[in-house]
């Protein structure tokens, strides 16, 4: 057993923290929230130069060949600082499934572009059915000649409006179970028939409605096998869920740190409010939630990174971290008092993200049902 990060991981963390503090101040975060694109191409370029987009991409595709655990360290820092933009969708929802299931040709074509910061990706999975289960996938792909024709509406697709490629999860067959007959396609986002609109959401994180209307995709752009795409989606969801948890624990820690600092500095009734036991109890409960979130997240991330079976552990982690992040930011606002409810205060940035992340890749009810099944219920 070894519950410590490696020296390299600690260095990655420190350099990421320094970089993000300098390059992505909260003023930029707010600006990007309000902007149409939602990311800064200039910052994106700098991140590519640091090799971040290629962190988990093998050397032979111009990446750095590091592990998922390393990626989680980086994502934790991104969550801590808040980094708007398509890093998550490109690397976690794009590069990882291509690494898992892409053909050599697909890998050669796309992975170096991702590593070089030259391609933005996303995955279109959820639909108006608003579930992460296979039964929610109704977008159809029908074979015609050397192509498939895609029709359907995808919803809550991160960054589709700026994406170069969209990995679209489609139904190619009605099978005996909802998991059968799912096929993934690497779709050129500029293909005719794709309509994309940003949905205004609580975290202003550029989730989109993407309508596919007779969109023709060459057969060679199929990612993985025909009709047997669900295990790839499930695997990607496990990775994405833990990647999201990594972001969330970073955000929760930041919210806690900010609140502790405020409780020490804000004076009422002649003493710092942190001297009041009521406030101390809030803060110690916040600390508990954050610390426990980190420990469980690291364990589940490690399992994902090692390729161990982790369905239950991932659901446990997300089921816990969802509530923890909401709790910490809610109490964080409360301890800050009215100032914490304002648009110009950073606490709100985290509060809104906690509520967005809560639903992403499965809310707590969803995760608990996964756990229940794994327990044999």
């Amino acid at each position: 057993m070894n519950l410590d990060f490696t020296e390299e991981q600690e260095m990655l963390r420190t350099s990421a923290r320094d970089f993000l503090t300098t390059e992505c101040p909260k003023t930029l975060v707010r600006e990007l929230e309000e902007s149409e694109k939602g990311y800064s191409p200039e910052l994106w370029k700098k991140m590519a130069e640091l090799g971040w987009m290629g962190l988990v991409i093998p050397d032979k595709y111009d990446g750095m060949g590091m592990q998922f655990m390393d990626l989680a360290v980086l994502l934790e820092e991104m969550g801590r600082n808040i980094l708007p933009g398509p890093f998550f969708s490109t690397v976690v929802l794009g590069a990882l499934p291509i690494l898992s299931a892409g053909s050599e040709e697909q890998k050669k074509e796309i992975l170096p572009k991702i590593a070089g910061g030259k391609a933005i990706l996303t995955m279109a999975l959820t639909e108006p059915s608003a579930t992460y289960e296979a039964s929610g996938v109704h977008t159809k792909a029908v074979a015609r000649g050397n192509s498939f024709i895609l029709n359907g509406t995808k919803l809550f697709v991160e960054n589709a409006h700026i994406a170069d490629y969209i990995i679209c999860v489609t139904r190619t067959k009605d099978g005996a179970s909802p998991e059968e007959g799912i096929t993934l396609f690497l779709v050129d986002a500029k293909s005719p028939g794709i309509k994309c609109a940003v949905i205004p959401t609580i975290a202003l994180d550029k989730q989109c409605e993407v309508v596919f209307e007779n969109v023709s995709v060459p057969k060679k752009n199929m990612l993985g096998e025909l009709d047997k795409g669900w295990p790839l989606v499930a695997r990607t969801l496990e990775q994405a869920t833990m990647a999201k948890c990594a972001e969330m624990i970073g955000g929760a820690q930041a919210a806690l740190d900010m609140t502790v600092a405020y409780a020490k500095e804000r004076v009422q009734y002649g003493r710092p409010i942190g001297a009041f036991q009521a406030i101390q109890f809030y803060l110690s409960d916040m600390w508990m939630k954050v610390t426990m979130s980190k420990n469980i997240t690291y364990e589940a991330v490690w399992m994902v990174s090692e390729g161990l079976p982790c369905t239950e552990k991932v659901a446990i982690a997300k089921g816990w971290v969802n509530d923890a992040y909401k709790f910490v930011t809610e109490r964080g606002v409360q301890v800050h008092g009215a100032i914490g409810t304002t648009r110009d205060h950073d606490m709100g940035l985290y509060y809104r993200r906690a509520w967005a992340a809560d639903q992403t890749f499965g809310n707590t009810d969803f995760q608990r049902e996964v756990v229940a099944r794994q327990m044999g219920l």
Binding site: S129, Q334, A338, R343, R352, D365
Partner: protein, 398 residues
Amino acid sequence: MDFKLTPEQEALKKELDDFLREEMKNAPPGWEAGMEAMFSDEGWPFHRYMARRLSEKGWLVRPWPREYGGVDAPMIEQVIFSEVMGYHRAPGRDIFGIGMIGPTLLVAGNEEQKKEHLPPIARAERFWCQGWSEPNAGSDLASLTTRAVRDGDDYIINGQKTWTSGAHFADWSFILARTNPEEKRSRGISFFLVDMKSPGVTVRPLLGMNGTHLFNEVYYDDVRVPARNRVGEENEGWAITRATMNFERSSIETVGVVKRELEELAAFCKETKWNGKTLSQNPFVRHRLAQLAIEIDVGRALAYRTAWLQEKGGLLLSADAASAAKVYGTELAQRLAYTGYQIMGLYGQVKMGSKWAPLHGSYESSSQLCMGMNLAGGSSEVQRNMIAWFGLGLPRTI
């Protein structure tokens, strides 16, 4: 005990209900309840319009004495009125004017002040805001530092107030300022009525987490206020403050609003199918809605009890009863907001204006706005202190 309303009360309730059902058709599109809606550019004219209509019907200040525009109505009528208003999410009742400064003047104002200020409130002509909190005087209000210095027949006021809801629309403000800087804390504070059009008053917006403009900072720069606008004696303002805080704490209006929202949420769950299943078939959804129904009923009972205490003991509530009503009401609204958001799943995060936003995106906004209500008018922590001190007789630590 008898929980029934009299036939007259039932009739009043019905009349008001019918009236509001009709009038609320004039509400701006996507109208929501609460101060955030009232203090928006679209909401403010509607607020004033509704205030006028209610005044015309004689409903605005019914518990007040006849000479100032009321009909000496019993407290219970006020509760009925607020509950129905809440249920219809109707604006029109200026909580600062009718709820706070009006009763304060009735108790502590001189005859001249009552004559000058109460009728315009009753006629829905003058709207108020509350200038108490300061950047360094929040929960610890008595540490406020805004200064008022006597200068002939006037006072000259300098300082900064903050979290002033609706200051960007209000006509008048009631504020606290220190008249004796030698005295510590609650001693040496006086209570003033200030015309917001006075030279030297500057209002700056403080936007909420989701961009809503409810709060303001108000700066006072050599603002001249006639001495006759001081309520009560010089340096004796704190006692008046304590009274003002305890008039407006029945949570019945919140309970009314929450009840309406729960009904709409339940209707939404009955109508909405995701992935082939109606939301209302989901046992978690059912339990969460049922839990809220229970809490609303408990809240309603608490509000009626509070009104009953006021009926028997006078308008001025004991601090613990007032605090209990406030903290229960705002936290109930918070639970409703969170529950609604949860039930909406991925859709909960969608903002008003998107075609994908369920129930006008009201849960995306209320899940943020609810936090402010836990703090405005005294944080939940301060309210709980009040309950501990005055309700349970526990020793004070501060």
